[in-house]
């Protein structure tokens, strides 16, 4: 059974949640909209489709402490960082970001499980929101994602005056237990109009043939990587706004009285990515650029039942300083030459 909430009651509803749980939602800070702690004073921006950074930071923050070594005379005390023990709600996630959590799960929840990530997943409730106004940079449809029917613990649809909820898990149902029931059919019109736009998106029909796992060698050796990578600056913008990029580096910080070991997002676009004693095995931007897209379009699917590690959110299309992004790569390399 669906639930509904008049839009003017949304702040009170959010306040109710925030009284018992941490609430993270798209809020505006310094002119940019990102997932951040919601308080009564926050500017909630549910109208913004794409936050600058994706929602993955709620489960996999950019920087997190792992362990702290403290010097005590000649002894070293070891304090492992604590995992999250409190519940939180992640509100207003779009269908693409919701799918990205499933992809991250495949990485962090497969053996050996990442305890920090696992704790956040266990304590987090994901409330998704259908995309009323998809944008020209959206290409989620290519990956079987339906912006009109987002996943998550609780799905939501917004009309002009009402928010409709459909619980998919018990965690989700608990959040909206107090709301009025309504008929499933009330969102059909909204869904239809979303799907109509989704079908009209200019990038809704990308040809992904040629990226299957058995073309690995062929794609890897493609001479066109050279040309494609030439315009790449080697910055990490695409990686850091991406909902599915999951590489991290582990670093030690010497605080003078001990060591803080933390992990932070890393980018394969950086020259010091996976740097080893012998140096780097990706000496030029061509190899680094190739790594990023091979990982998303070839390596990840061949290890994960053919699922691409891209959700088509389009953030990199908007943010790449040189407009040199994954759609260019797909369009340039994607079509089989022998076809």
């Amino acid at each position: 059974m669906m639930k509904k909430l008049p839009l003017e009651q949304l702040p009170a509803f959010l306040k109710g949640i925030s009284e018992t749980k941490t609430l993270v939602a798209p809020v505006e800070k310094g002119g940019q909209v990102n997932f951040d702690l919601w308080t009564e004073d926050s500017t909630l921006r549910l109208d913004v489709l794409k936050t600058v950074k994706s929602a993955k930071g709620a489960f996999f923050p950019q920087v997190e402490d792992i362990v702290h070594f403290q010097m005590q005379g000649k002894n070293i005390d070891i304090h492992p960082a604590e995992v999250l023990t409190e519940d939180f709600v992640l509100f207003g996630v779009r269908a693409c970001d919701a799918r990205s959590f499933e992809l991250l799960d495949r990485v962090f929840l497969s053996d050996p499980t990442d305890p920090f990530y696992a704790a956040r997943r266990a304590h987090g409730t994901v409330v998704t929101l259908a995309c009323n106004r998809p944008e020209e940079t959206c290409f989620c449809t290519n990956f079987g994602i339906d912006g009109a029917d987002p996943a998550g613990d609780l799905s939501a649809w917004m009309t002009e005056d009402t928010l409709y909820f459909q619980a998919n898990t018990e965690k989700g149902a608990a959040l909206v237990a107090g709301l009025a029931d309504c008929d499933d059919g009330e969102i059909t019109e909204t869904q239809n109009s979303i799907r109509e736009i989704l079908n009209k998106l200019p990038l809704s029909n990308l040809n992904l043939t040629g990226f299957e796992g058995d073309h690995l060698k062929e794609r890897f050796d493609d001479p066109r990587w050279e040309e494609l990578s030439r315009g790449c600056l080697g910055c990490g913008t695409c990686t850091f706004v991406c909902p599915t990029c999951q590489c991290y580096d582990v670093k030690d910080f010497d605080s003078g009285n001990g060591i803080r070991r933390f992990r932070c997002w890393d980018s394969c676009m950086f020259s010091d990515f996976t740097l080893m004693a012998h140096g780097t095995n990706r000496p030029t931007q061509k190899e680094r650029f190739r790594q990023r897209f091979m990982h998303k379009l070839v390596y990840f699917p061949s290890n994960n039942d053919g699922i691409y590690s891209c959700v088509g959110c389009g953030r990199c299309l908007e943010k790449c300083p040189q407009s040199n992004h994954i759609v260019n790569v797909i369009k340039t390399l994607g079509v089989k030459e022998d076809a």
Partner: protein, 317 residues
Amino acid sequence: MIVNRLQELLQDDENLQFVGWEKGETPFDRTPKTFTAETLGNLCYDSFCGSNLSKYLLSQKTDKKTVVLLKPCDSYSFNQLCTERRLNRDAYHVIGVGCKGKIDGEKIRKTGIKGILSVREEGETLKIETLYGTTEIPRKDVLLDKCLACKGKEHKCADEVLGESEDTCVGDKYETVAKLEAMTPDERFAFWREELSKCIRCNACRNACPACSCIKCVFDNPNSGVQNKAAADDFEENLFHIIRAYHVAGRCTDCGECSRVCPQGIPLHLLNRKIIRDVNEFYGDYQAGDAIGQRHPLTDFTFEDSEPNAERKGGGK
């Protein structure tokens, strides 16, 4: 017109390569690219070619004579890179292309216009076709921030100039700097903390900056002691941006790429502009990249220079 001229150049030397922009997937995508005689037809130059090609030249092969398209502001960076001997002036045929201010796709999106399928310029108006209908917006409202601090329509380095340029500068470019200087230290600190705390350390500002041309940056060098990939503490955000701004002091041409490329919209140019303003005030007017071979104020001195301790309100006068 530009492509025609480039084709003429090819008749004299068919081995030329061309550095320009190529149209991409979205209406705003203009990717810097190197073209050969065969691909020259894809070269495009229009109001969306905001990126500065001078830095791009550093990553390109130089075995062939290169024809490069530079906007007036890009020519300053080109000169500066030649001064620093990172580029060899003789290896390039510089075509100064006319510029009447470039359009910022991000600004159009920020006005609330979504699902943009095409943008057409009709005089001073942009006709925008979107998934949700057509709309119009005045061109001058959505120019890149760097165009609002235009340094003028003159190409500081060009073998030939094609097209007309226009000075799109609006008001005093030091206005915001002056406003910050007038604040108290705590207010200034709060301002920068709010801005810099948005930083995701993607390094786009550094990598796009034509003055940041070190082959190995200290922040990437494991032996430097300050290598870091993410700001694990507020201090590291400040450190990165202070060092970055200071390292380009005297060399920054105020091309505005740092602020253009920042995914979080941090006004990084305000740091550089402060330094430029100070340098002008303390050591006389200086514009980096004005000509090849200039000696910049921080690699120079006079016996009468002012002392560092002099009390200056907000670092200003």
